[in-house]
């Protein structure tokens, strides 16, 4: 990993084989643990709580595993009985063979039933668990605070929702069989020792050798598996980047360079997997040699005992059969070892997500006001995203029902924070946010969602028909509602020109529409919501002035009786507001109508007189002179 993180420095190394400033895949350091302990009590305990609903099934599965193992154990004993009681010279008995064969057949039937039950139950429970865990995580992500979502990459969450959940499922499936393997191992040991203690001890003497070998082997194997997994995740990360960023890649002509770099990652991944494979297969001849050794012991020592008539020949044969099966469980337990490590690390990551504290919660006595008046009030609100760096500083204002207020100010002045607080995406540090006369913390989030509709700067649409996207906020909206909203924002015409009209399927966020068209749809979506309060966060930044004008006119109608908070940087949008609030560095420095503000001669009028079409980023003007830039780069 380290060598792929080319040091981003301006001075290239002498004669580098690859471009010095080229990387593929996420350069965020892998701080995530890929392998946990083999057995993490905390993870297992948490995991077990998810198993509780399936307790009955699991008991049944464990029972079936035990029965299954018993039948497996009994087969060599039946063979032994046939040999010693029906086939040894002088004691030949065809009738006894018939009976024993019938017993054998009965055992096989029981074996089949137990096998079917165990595998079906384990498979189903594991599958259910997979979906339960994923659902729990997904549901949790719907309610955790946005500040968590802001700082967590979506890709990382996806890998938890998928890869980690699979790792746990795999673990559960195998762990039930591991129980079976362990029981089989113990059973074989018990049977061997009770059939003939002396021969049993001698046969089992090969087992300690295996353990010694394993202890030497393990650290190497651990490292190899870790390397394999790390390279896999880094390769997949690069692939993901290649897919998401394909447009930028083609525009920048980076295909060839990226292919080279991806090849490096894939090659390292290949080598890592080959190394891991070498290590795990190294155990095969060792285990086989030990199996052969144990059989040799049975034949030499057991054969000798039989010759001395100290042992029945059937027991010797039974021993051979047990030895043949003996190492199977050991072998699969080895495989399960790395699976367990992986599962523990995966479990930690999953529960980490599930344990993210839900900061914004409905109070137990939160009310759901049926009708609110649409007023908004901020009372001495102080708020920020990082401790010690408040974005809003002691902000107070009131918006009357039905009023349209424009928020104006440079980037970072706190406009978007005000709208976020209004919707209680975050809680304030100090002060109160009131919507419709209620503190937002006293009413349910669902009611806020119903009463406050938002149009965000970047239109985000979902895969699905256009109609579904428009009625996203209100699933029961009729076709007429949808069409009315689309007409109001001027989207109807272009929708009708699409092949399937309102049923046209949008792919991946509406990639088949222009940005402006997408914005119109997101506008229509907010209108369908029919909320008392409408928040427009730079909602018209991506539409042209004509469309914007149409939207303005539609809004003039639609805003009748509704409250609106509009963030905009275009004069045309701002002028239409009843009142303008000018924000700077987290404070409201001016407020009033367009004319009042022009008359007062403050920041607004200054900017206005400078004839800018936009109010964005303005204070940077003063600090960020082009002359300064040039001076520093020479």
């Amino acid at each position: 990993m380290a060598d792929t993180q080319a040091q981003p420095s301006g001075t290239p190394n002498p004669g580098p084989a690859k471009p010095p400033l080229a990387v593929v895949g996420s350069q965020i350091s892998q701080d995530e643990k890929l392998f946990g302990q083999v057995f993490d009590k905390w993870v297992v305990r948490r995991f077990l709580t998810y198993l509780t609903p399936y307790r009955g099934e699991l008991y049944m599965a464990v029972g079936a595993v035990l029965v299954f193992t018993m039948t497996q154990l009994s087969i060599p004993l039946i063979i032994r009985a046939v040999i010693d009681d029906a086939l040894v010279a002088g004691r030949m008995s065809g009738g006894l063979i018939d009976i024993l064969a019938m017993v054998f057949a009965a055992v096989v039937v029981v074996n089949y039933a137990a096998n079917h039950i165990q595998e079906t139950i384990v498979g189903k429970v594991a599958e259910h668990l997979l979906f339960d865990l994923r659902r729990a995580m997904y549901a949790h992500l719907q309610v955790v605070s946005l500040s968590f979502m802001d700082k967590t990459e979506a890709g990382r969450l996806m890998s938890r929702l998928q890869g980690d959940v699979y790792a746990l499922q795999e673990f559960l499936e195998s762990s039930i069989f591991a129980i079976g393997d362990l029981v089989l191992l113990l059973g074989i040991i018990v049977v061997l020792l009770s059939l003939d203690f002396q021969l049993g001890v001698m046969t089992l003497s090969v087992v300690p050798i295996l353990f010694v070998v394993r202890i030497v082997w393990l650290p190497y194997a651990r490292r190899a598996f870790l390397w394999a997994r790390e390279t896999s995740s880094s390769t997949n990360g690069a692939l993901a980047e290649g897919i998401h960023g394909v447009r930028a890649v083609q525009e920048m002509g980076r295909e060839a360079v990226n292919y080279e770099l991806f090849d490096d990652k894939a090659t390292e991944n290949l080598n890592a997997h080959l190394a891991a494979s070498r290590l795990s297969n190294m155990m095969v001849p060792i285990v086989d040699t030990l199996t052969g050794g144990a059989m040799a012991i049975v034949i030499i020592v057991g054969g000798g005992l039989v010759l001395d008539e100290a042992l029945d020949i059937g027991i010797m044969v039974a021993f051979v059969f047990y030895v043949q099966r003996f190492f199977d469980p050991i072998r699969s337990l080895t495989i399960q070892y790395s699976m367990m490590q992986r599962a523990m690390a995966a479990g930690q990551r999953i529960f980490e997500v599930l344990d993210v504290v839900v900061e914004i919660k409905d109070k137990p006595d939160a009310i759901d006001p049926a009708e609110i008046d649409g007023s908004i009030e901020f009372r001495n609100v102080t708020f920020g995203y990082l401790p010690g760096q408040p974005i809003l500083k002691d902000v107070s204002f009131r918006v009357e029902p039905g009023e349209t207020v424009a928020l104006v100010g440079p980037t970072g002045s706190g406009k978007t924070s005000i709208t976020a607080l209004l919707h209680r995406f975050y809680d304030t540090w100090e002060g109160q946010v009131m919507v419709g006369g209620h503190d937002v913390r006293d009413i349910t989030q669902a009611s806020l969602g119903r009463d406050v509709a938002m149009v965000l700067q970047e239109p985000y649409l979902f895969s699905g028909p256009i109609a579904d996207n428009i009625r996203y906020a209100k699933a029961d909206a009729t076709r007429a509602d949808i069409i009315a909203a689309a007409k109001a924002v001027g989207a109807h015409d272009f929708i009708m020109r699409l092949r399937d009209g309102y049923d046209t399927w949008l792919d991946q966020g509406g990639a088949n529409l222009s940005l402006g068209q997408r914005q119109l749809l997101s506008f229509a979506r907010a209108l369908v919501a029919d909320a008392r309060i409408l928040v427009l966060d730079e909602a018209t930044a991506n539409v042209d002035s004509h469309t914007e004008l149409e939207i303005q006119r539609a809004l003039a109608r639609l805003l009748k009786g509704r409250t609106a908070v509009v963030i905009a940087h275009r004069l045309a949008t701002i002028r239409g507001a009843d009142r303008i609030m000018v924000l700077q560095e987290g404070r409201i420095i001016e407020t009033g109508s367009h004319d009042q503000l022009i008359d007062s001669g403050g920041l607004y009028s200054r900017l206005y007189r400078m004839n800018y079409a936009s109010f964005d980023d303005i204070p940077q003007d003063d600090t960020d002179r082009p002359g300064g830039d040039r001076g520093e780069t020479t």
Binding site: P19, P20, A86, V88, N236, V284, G303, M316, Q517
Partner: protein
């Protein structure tokens, strides 16, 4: 759907622009074809495959010796017991036993060694296949056209790139090599057992045809089930990805319940299919094991009677039983094997469906690099229409324009009027459907894509930033760039001062899709990145929408020095972004309805004038006046 399948069987290359309208990449039903294809790739690694197969056969042969020596040992002991031999004979028997034990040990060691080679080579070939497929897949995705990527969900592509490659990879070891193992074990076993006793041999192997039939039935059903499951899982990851990506919208509309319902809907379908798959799988494996065990019962029963009648010895019965015992694992594995066949054929099908696509935009045979003499880009009566299935009705017709070095063209028009399409045509991200686009007289379809795109730089509306340092992002198109040129570009895009005040400066990591930068900063980064390319033609596709006018003004001033000799095309809604252009084109519904300089268009008093009045007149126009009819 039908088009994709039909053309794949007729051997015609499937262009990515002709992919079916249902955005699902269809897979041919002939799964044997897929399996053969994977197998052929595997045998491309001739040396490793021969070694793997050789080792598999030898491992199986050595394993076949085990029952023989077990039987031999039993007979050696039994023979002595029967005749109650004297001391010398006993000593001889002990020596014989020693020899048998030594042979058994030797056979086990050899079997272990060959199994190791088999497993390792099998896995190595699998990993190599995975490696090659991964590279091919990556390269293919990078060359497929924008219109294809517009249709196919990235979550789906990731599933293919990770899980499907895994499924194909496993086929070598769990499929091909295990098949050889089974054939040799069963064939060799049949030969040996029949040699001992034909009837008992037939009894012992009676389970083979039943298991075979059972397995092939299960294989077909499992494959169908796998396909459906994968489809649902793709859908599920799509739902999750969209939800996480649009989390602010979800929150804004308090749509959590709706989102949960969406998730549960797909999730339940997936669980149901997964259950069905488990049942199919368990039923077939347990039934196969059951039949195998019944055969063992028969061996014991029939064989026992044969020992009594003296047809076979006790040792030979032990040999039969030991043979059955070594088959227990492989029979269990038949289940896994058919599972892996089903998986490999469905995964391989999904993968090859992508790998076999021909990019609709690709170098023509004999394409030459673009030779730039002046850098004049011309649209000659260009028509364009998106493929019918895209449902994209935006078209261009009769577009003529000429971009000359040192000159700027501005393009303006309502959303959906075709502005971005014009930009995409210039870089040949789509091909024109009529007329032609030339650079210095060369049709852009006749030159190599690489040289064309090096000559035409586009700055997008919504730039994609890579999760890497600012430095890496800036140098994305020119990874050999030195520090000074990077900083010069950043300064021109008015970003240098901001970057400098960051604690890590140019080494600051930009999060996934640049989450830690504002929209305007991202656009400025994207502009700086494109300046680095030093391309002859620079297109700014509404790339300053989130940048304030004053900063934009400074960017433009800085650009003037940097791209003085380049042709610049500016697409914007905000007229202040393009009113200085040498020629301004007003597009509506894919046609040029007005063109000329700012002053000319103002004087013309048409749509442009109207837009200008709307946007930049500092005079309050309230009450809003009626706009001219749009259509």
């Amino acid at each position: 759907m039908t088009t994709a399948t039909a053309s794949s069987t007729s051997g015609q290359p499937r262009l990515d622009s002709n992919i079916d309208p249902n955005y699902r990449i269809e897979v041919s039903n002939l799964d044997t074809r897929v399996l053969w294809r994977i197998t052929a790739i595997a045998f491309g690694h001739r040396w490793r495959m021969s070694l793997g197969i050789g080792a598999t056969i030898l491992a199986a042969i050595f394993q076949l010796f085990v029952p023989q020596y077990v039987g031999q040992a039993v007979d050696q002991v039994q023979g002595l017991l029967a005749v109650a031999a004297d001391g010398d004979a006993r000593e001889a028997a002990r020596d014989a036993l020693l020899l048998t034990a030594a042979l058994l040990m030797g056979v086990s060691v050899m079997r272990g060694l060959f199994t190791m080679v088999q497993n390792y080579q099998g896995e190595a070939v699998g990993q190599l296949i995975g490696y090659h497929l991964r590279l091919d897949y990556y390269r293919k995705l990078q060359t497929l056209s924008f219109s294809w990527h517009d249709r196919i969900h990235s979550g789906d592509l990731m599933t293919r790139g990770i899980l499907d490659i895994e499924g194909v990879r496993l086929w070598v070891n769990t499929g091909i090599l295990r098949m050889f193992l089974l054939i040799v074990l069963i064939g060799g076993g049949a030969y040996i057992l029949m040699g001992i006793d034909t009837t008992l041999g037939l009894v012992a192997l009676s389970f083979v045809p039943i298991v075979g039939i059972r397995a092939s039935i299960a294989r077909l059903k499992l494959r169908a089930s796998w396909m459906r499951l994968q489809d649902r899982l793709s859908e599920l990851s799509k739902v999750m990805e969209e939800n996480l990506g649009g989390i602010r919208v979800v929150r804004a509309f308090a749509a959590q319940a709706f989102e949960m319902a969406r998730f549960d809907g797909v999730s339940k379908q997936a669980v149901a299919i997964a259950h069905e798959r488990i049942l199919l799988f368990v039923r077939s494996t347990t039934q196969m094991t059951f039949i195998y065990f019944l055969a063992t019962v028969l061996v014991l029963w029939v064989g026992g009677h044969k020992v009594i009648t003296g047809d076979i010895t006790l040792g030979q019965l032990a040999e039969f039983l030991a043979f059955m015992a070594i088959l227990q694992m492989p029979v269990r594995q038949i289940g896994w094997m058919i599972n892996s066949i089903a998986r490999a054929s469905s995964c391989g099908g999904r993968l090859f469906a992508v790998l076999d696509l021909e990019p609709s935009i690709a170098d023509r045979p004999g394409a030459k690099p673009l030779a730039i003499a002046h850098g004049v880009l011309r649209f000659e009566n260009v028509d364009f229409q998106y493929p019918a299935w895209t449902q994209d009705q935006r078209t261009l017709s009769g577009i003529d324009l000429e971009a000359r070095p040192g000159k700027t063209i501005g393009i303006v028009g309502p959303p959906g009027s075709g502005k971005s399409t014009v930009a995409h045509l210039m870089g040949r991200y789509y091909d024109v459907t009529g007329g032609r686009i030339t650079i210095d007289g060369q049709d852009i379809r006749e030159v190599t894509l690489e040289s064309l795109r090096a000559a035409v730089g586009i700055v997008q509306q919504q730039p994609f930033l890579f999760t890497a340092s600012i430095n890496h992002n800036l140098a994305y198109g020119d990874p050999w760039a030195g520090r000074s040129s990077i900083q010069r570009s950043a300064a021109a895009a008015q970003l240098h001062n901001y970057i400098k005040q960051l604690p890590a400066g140019y080494d600051t990591l930009v999060g996934e899709r640049g989450v830690s930068l504002s929209g305007g900063q991202r656009q400025r980064l994207s502009i700086a990145r494109s300046i680095m390319l030093d391309s002859a033609i620079l297109i700014l596709d509404d790339s300053t929408a989130a940048v304030d006018a004053a900063t934009e003004q400074r960017i433009r001033a800085a650009l003037k020095d940097l791209v003085a000799e380049r042709a610049v095309i500016i697409i914007a809604h905000r007229l202040s972004s393009l009113m200085h252009a040498d020629e301004i084109i007003f597009l509506d519904e894919g046609r040029i309805i007005e063109r000329g300089s700012h002053d000319e268009l103002i004087a013309l008093g048409g749509r442009y004038r109207e837009l200008y009045d709307l946007q930049s007149s500092p005079v309050d126009t309230r009450p809003l006046r009626e706009p001219a009819a749009e259509e």
